[in-house]
């Protein structure tokens, strides 16, 4: 490498281009917010909103009448019920509005009014009946032992975090690469770089490299936060998790490159980006499971790269899956990445 006449060393163009792109990104406070802070914020907010609560007592109503006082006392012993006395019409209304899940009439013997399609109503019927029978003199035949389990990894936030990671990898891959290239094209910087002899492969390769450099802190920050503060499990190998994230990031970088291959304006590229990303926000199981979509839609849903990435991330993090189990998802990502990258190179507009 030739030495410059002053102290600055001449670096390889790929290094300089990558540095330039990375500096631009870290010097842009908005970019830092969206890439690093936003996913953590979202995980924290949604984690709090959908946190698992201890089982709530079931609300039931007793219609006021001659025996209701004694029944209220009987139900008060049961920790999983909370009973109140109401007039007959008030009780009906409370049931209709879901404020109580079961109404006990004032008759002797009582009549239980409840909706058998509601699991809570059925549970309330069993609990109320057991308490009232006991109060009426029925003895328990035996006292069963009990073991309570709480399974970490089955909470909503556990489902959510891999989805957010996938969404973030998609967003930064596409916006990060797409915007920067279109801005450079619009300002004739791409043309100038090519006119000064920058290799096409270096200009585009630097975008990917800088993307990969930022992948580590970006995915790392979210995972560290989720694991240590929200208790989201990391059951599979961290190496495999890194590999899946890397492949996902590359795949979406390819798509970002493709969407940015032709447009000359930010408006133009934004439209295409949304066209590509909105279906994935909806269908790729970020916030809820893809199984909720009807069977007819499944081939489409499963073909989306974000679906594959989210599935793979969940399998590694929540189920501790190994590489072999992930082959279909990894193949999907590799295919999307390679196809979009090659197409982007063919279509790319330098001026």
């Amino acid at each position: 490498m030739p030495e410059a006449s002053d102290a600055t060393r001449v670096r390889h163009p790929l290094v300089e281009l990558t540095l330039a792109r990375s500096r631009e990104l870290v010097r842009e406070p908005e970019a830092v917010f969206w890439v690093f802070v936003f996913p953590i914020l979202l995980a924290a907010i949604l984690g709090v909103a959908f946190r698992s609560r201890p089982p709530a007592p079931l609300p039931v109503a007793l219609v006021a009448g001659p025996g209701s006082e004694a029944r209220l006392a009987a139900l008060a012993h049961a920790g999983d019920l909370v009973a109140q006395r109401l007039g007959a019409s008030e009780a009906r209304e409370a049931l209709a509005h879901g404020r109580v899940v079961l109404v006990v009439s004032a008759d002797e013997p009582p009549v239980y009014t409840y909706d058998p399609t509601q699991p809570e109503s059925r549970a309330a019927r069993l609990a109320v009946d057991a308490q009232l029978q006991k109060a009426a003199g029925r003895a328990d035949a035996f006292t069963p032992g009990r073991v309570e389990v709480s399974e970490p990894g089955s909470r909503y936030v556990d489902f959510l975090v891999p989805g957010l990671l996938g969404m973030n990898l998609m967003g930064t891959g596409m916006w990060g690469i797409g915007f920067s290239l279109v801005v450079a094209r619009n300002g004739k910087l791409l043309k100038r770089l090519v006119a000064a002899p920058a290799r096409h492969s270096h200009v585009l390769g630097a975008q990917l490299l800088s993307r990969l450099i930022f992948l580590v802190p970006e995915a790392g920050a979210l995972l560290v936060f989720a694991h240590y503060l929200l208790g989201v499990p990391l059951r599979g190998s961290l190496l495999l998790l890194g590999g899946v994230s890397l492949l996902g990031a590359l795949s979406f970088s390819g798509l970002g490159l493709l969407t940015a291959a032709r447009p000359r304006t930010i408006e133009g590229v934004s439209g295409i980006m949304n066209l590509v990303m909105v279906p994935m926000w909806v269908f790729s199981g970020i916030f809820f499971s893809t199984e909720r979509f009807p069977d007819r839609l499944q081939p489409f849903v499963q073909a989306l790269p974000l679906t594959a990435l989210n599935d793979a991330l969940r399998q590694v993090m929540l189920e501790g899956a190994g590489t072999v189990a992930l082959v279909p998802e990894l193949a999907n990502l590799a295919l999307w990445g390679a196809a979009s990258f090659l197409l982007a190179l063919k279509l790319f507009r330098w001026q």
Binding site: D6, R11, P13, A20, R23, G187, R192, L193, V194, A196
Partner: protein, 313 residues
């Protein structure tokens, strides 16, 4: 063979955009060490021509040789020997001046260091400034620095001083003269005739994609046959043709050009032409609303060739 090849040669260059012929059969040859100017109004085809010569645009017809080579593929080898300044480049706002120059320096196998390049364009004090903090003139000099950083044998400058204040323009002129002094070839486009007259060894005047005049600035002005220009304005509704003939017959007048109500006489001797002109106008009962005289410039050459002024064309 490439040693004594001219710096630039093109033959029969044609470029069309739809129905518009941007470049219409252009032949040019620029020698080594020459500062060659392309002068013409906006839309004359200067930028298209330069971008074809730079290998950024493919011509529809014609041949191009740069430093004895034709453009092939991405032309990386040839590109390391030339410096290119585009009319307008937006460098990343959040990069520092020295970072932008280091970036461009990395593309070339040889050339001055970042510090030396900064001194060359008088930006050393702005070394650590962000691009967005630069003035228009400083951005233009940064752009010039990126074209110089590979120590090019041939420098393309597309309107290097358009939109600059007089002081920044003079600074750019000094830099370009420095390149000339070091024996580099410079091709620049401009629509400022004083810039072309000051910097260029030869000037090509372009209009509608064609070359309409070529020569040294002095020879082009001399081709007018007279050194002075008398300009005056009269009511534009006057029938000009009888007046034109009368003016052409005045003593010392070489040429008469008219643009609506404004008239340009190319004259050898102002002191002979002006009294005769005023008398001729008075005889017709026409009062001039304006009368000025100046030394003939390249602007007047363009005017006499096209009947239009450079700026309005």
């Amino acid at each position: 063979m490439a040693i004594d090849a001219p710096a630039l040669r093109c033959l029969g260059l044609v470029k069309r955009y739809g129905d518009v012929v941007a470049v219409d059969g252009l032949d040019l040859e620029v020698g080594r060490g020459e500062c060659f100017g392309m002068l013409g109004p906006n839309g004359a085809g200067k930028t298209t021509t330069v971008e074809i010569l730079e290998g950024l645009t493919a011509p529809d017809a014609g041949e191009v040789q740069v430093l004895g080579e034709a453009w092939h593929g991405d032309g990386l080898g040839l590109r390391t020997r030339i410096g290119v300044q585009l009319q307008e480049t937006k460098f990343p706002e959040k990069l520092r001046v020295s970072e932008v120059i280091a970036l461009f320096r990395s593309f070339y196998p040889r050339g001055p260091g970042v510090g030396e390049t900064l001194r060359l364009v008088a930006l050393d004090e702005k070394r650590s400034a962000y691009v967005r903090a630069l003035s228009g003139g400083q951005k233009q000099r940064l752009s010039l620095a990126c074209a110089l950083v590979g120590d090019p044998e041939l420098l393309f400058l597309d309107e290097p001083t358009t939109g600059l204040d007089p002081q920044s323009r003079r600074q750019s002129w000094d830099i370009i003269e420095g390149m000339k002094a070091r024996g580099r070839t410079v091709l620049l486009t401009t629509h400022y005739m004083e810039e072309a007259a000051r910097l260029c060894d030869r000037v090509a005047i372009m209009d509608h994609g064609r070359l309409i005049a070529l020569g040294t600035p002095r020879a082009l002005v001399a081709s007018l046959g007279a050194e002075h220009v008398v300009e005056f304005a009269i009511d534009a509704s006057q029938d000009g043709e009888p007046l034109r003939a009368a003016l052409a017959a005045l003593p010392s007048v070489e040429r008469v050009a008219r643009e609506g109500g404004s008239w340009h006489l190319t004259v050898r001797e102002v002191h002979l032409a002006v009294p005769a002109l005023l008398a001729a106008l008075a005889a017709r009962g026409v009062a001039p609303t304006q009368l000025t005289t100046h030394h003939a410039t390249l602007e007047d050459v363009f005017m006499s060739l096209t009947g239009r002024s450079l700026r309005d064309a």
